[in-house]
């Protein structure tokens, strides 16, 4: 099979611009998801069943349906109520944030619960309130444990942001599809796009491993 490099070169500026947007929306998604996720995690760990309920429902819905459907509903149902004309990039960031918040909440919960119970007890026995103990003792330790799974979630988001092409958000996959449509060829655009994704996720993975190693040597201070 012949591989037409001219297709790749023609579209490279678009692929690169798309890559920038892919990174941008994924980063925005993971950062907003971080804030929402922390709130949801704390809500889900409440001792009150009725406070836990809405957070549980949220997590179940966003983890239980394909992101594609979530994006369509957000872009065409919810965003237009606040914004006209709605912008697919805004919808994509909202969708990725809400979706990742559900996953990040579980990451936070696991991180907090992995901290030895004795830490909370020691803090409380020194007279700290629950909130003080969380803030000064538990969360600073949990943060270290959640960084690796959060990096992972970022990688997941990077790949899933490719669904933004359905909303015509001009990210990497969108330009891959555009190129495929123009030349009615599948190989050149998709292999190029796949390679760009691979470079992105692998660099991130190595960065993550580096951070993880740094964190674990920090632990041995």
């Amino acid at each position: 099979m012949d591989f037409r490099f001219d297709i790749v070169t023609d579209y490279m500026p678009f692929f690169l611009r798309g890559m920038g947007i892919t990174i941008g929306v994924s980063l925005a998604g993971v950062l907003i998801g971080l804030i929402l996720g922390l709130i949801i995690a704390l809500g889900k760990m409440s001792s009150n069943k009725w406070i836990r309920l809405p957070f549980n429902i949220y997590i179940n819905i966003f983890r239980g349906t394909p992101l594609l459907v979530q994006l369509l509903i957000i872009h065409f149902g919810i965003v237009p109520m606040f914004m006209s004309p709605s912008n697919p990039l805004v919808s994509l960031v909202i969708g990725l944030s809400l979706n990742s918040a559900a996953y990040i909440a579980e990451i936070f919960r696991a991180g907090i619960q992995s901290i030895d119970k004795g830490q909370m007890e020691a803090a409380r026995s020194l007279g700290m309130t629950r909130v003080q103990a969380m803030k000064l003792v538990i969360l600073p330790q949990a943060v270290k444990r959640v960084i690796p799974p959060l990096g992972n979630e970022f990688i997941v988001l990077l790949k899933e942001s490719s669904l933004g092409s359905v909303l015509a958000a001009p990210e990497l996959m969108y330009w891959g599809r555009a190129a495929a449509g123009q030349y009615i060829r599948v190989w050149e655009p998709y292999i190029t796009v796949a390679l760009i994704y691979l470079v992105l996720t692998l660099s991130l993975t190595y960065l993550m491993n580096y951070v993880e190693r740094r964190l674990s040597t920090d632990d041995q201070r």
Partner: protein
């Protein structure tokens, strides 16, 4: 100083403390012994409200812990606690471990808290470890820091739950030494321990618990040498 009356505590259907009454006078050192699962830890944790109390009353320095109006965080600053597994804060230096609560709970100035912390560290023989992290300390050193951390809140009572059980035998001595000094300085202490030598040397009273009850209590010498109850005898014959 401490007055416990008809204290009851269950986990689900498991009645762990069935009816505990005991008074501890200021400056008294009380040693609690008993077989595994007898409720020693639960008892001592109830004194600090780390466990919810199901019945009876616990008064610390005149404040009733079971009274809803009592500010439990305030009471806790009066009651220092030392755990079997140290529970130092691994993300803080030794100095920060000690100053964290004084600064954030008591609202003490950082400089003042640090100065006090250094005095305490010197007292437990670890002045040079101020800027180390817990990871780099031996078990015995960790436990001495934990004691200093509790003392930094200037508690009126100190509770110890098997402070030497997680230590290598050679490190037991250094921790007991710190505790003995504390006793000599007049601190009111309740100590759960298997160290009978310590009980003999500094204990004013030894309490033998079994199955959620206080079976017997007496001066150390009297209890060890002439236990009254069968269960006390059986237990002592195994551990002495």
């Amino acid at each position: 100083m401490i007055n416990v009356k008809n204290l009851k505590k269950s986990f689900g259907n498991n009645e762990v403390l069935k009816d505990i009454s005991v008074d501890v006078a200021p400056q008294e050192v009380v040693v609690v012994i008993g077989p595994s699962g007898s409720g020693k830890s639960t008892f001592i944790r109830c004194l600090n409200m780390l466990e919810n109390i199901n019945g009876g009353h616990v008064m610390i320095d005149g404040k009733d812990l079971t009274d809803k109006k009592t500010n439990i965080n305030e009471v806790r600053t009066d009651v220092g606690m030392v755990f079997q597994h140290f529970n130092l804060f691994p993300h803080k230096t030794i100095l920060e471990n000690i100053t964290l609560a004084p600064i954030n709970v008591r609202g003490m100035k950082k400089a003042e808290a640090e100065e006090k912390a250094r005095v305490l560290l010197a007292k437990v023989g670890l002045a040079e470890k101020a800027s180390a992290y817990p990871e780099s300390l031996s078990g015995g050193q960790k436990q001495r820091v934990a004691i200093a951390r509790a003392l930094a809140m200037e508690p009126k009572v100190m509770l110890f739950d098997e402070p030497t059980s997680a230590l290598d035998p050679e490190m037991v001595g250094e921790v007991l030494e710190v505790m003995k000094q504390l006793a000599r300085d007049g601190m009111t202490m309740i100590v759960v321990t298997h160290e009978m030598g310590f009980a003999r040397e500094v204990g004013d009273r030894v309490i033998f618990m079994d199955n959620g009850y206080i079976v017997e209590q007496n001066e150390p010498k009297a209890l060890f040498d002439a236990p009254q109850h069968e269960r006390t005898k059986a237990f002592l014959s195994k551990v002495l």
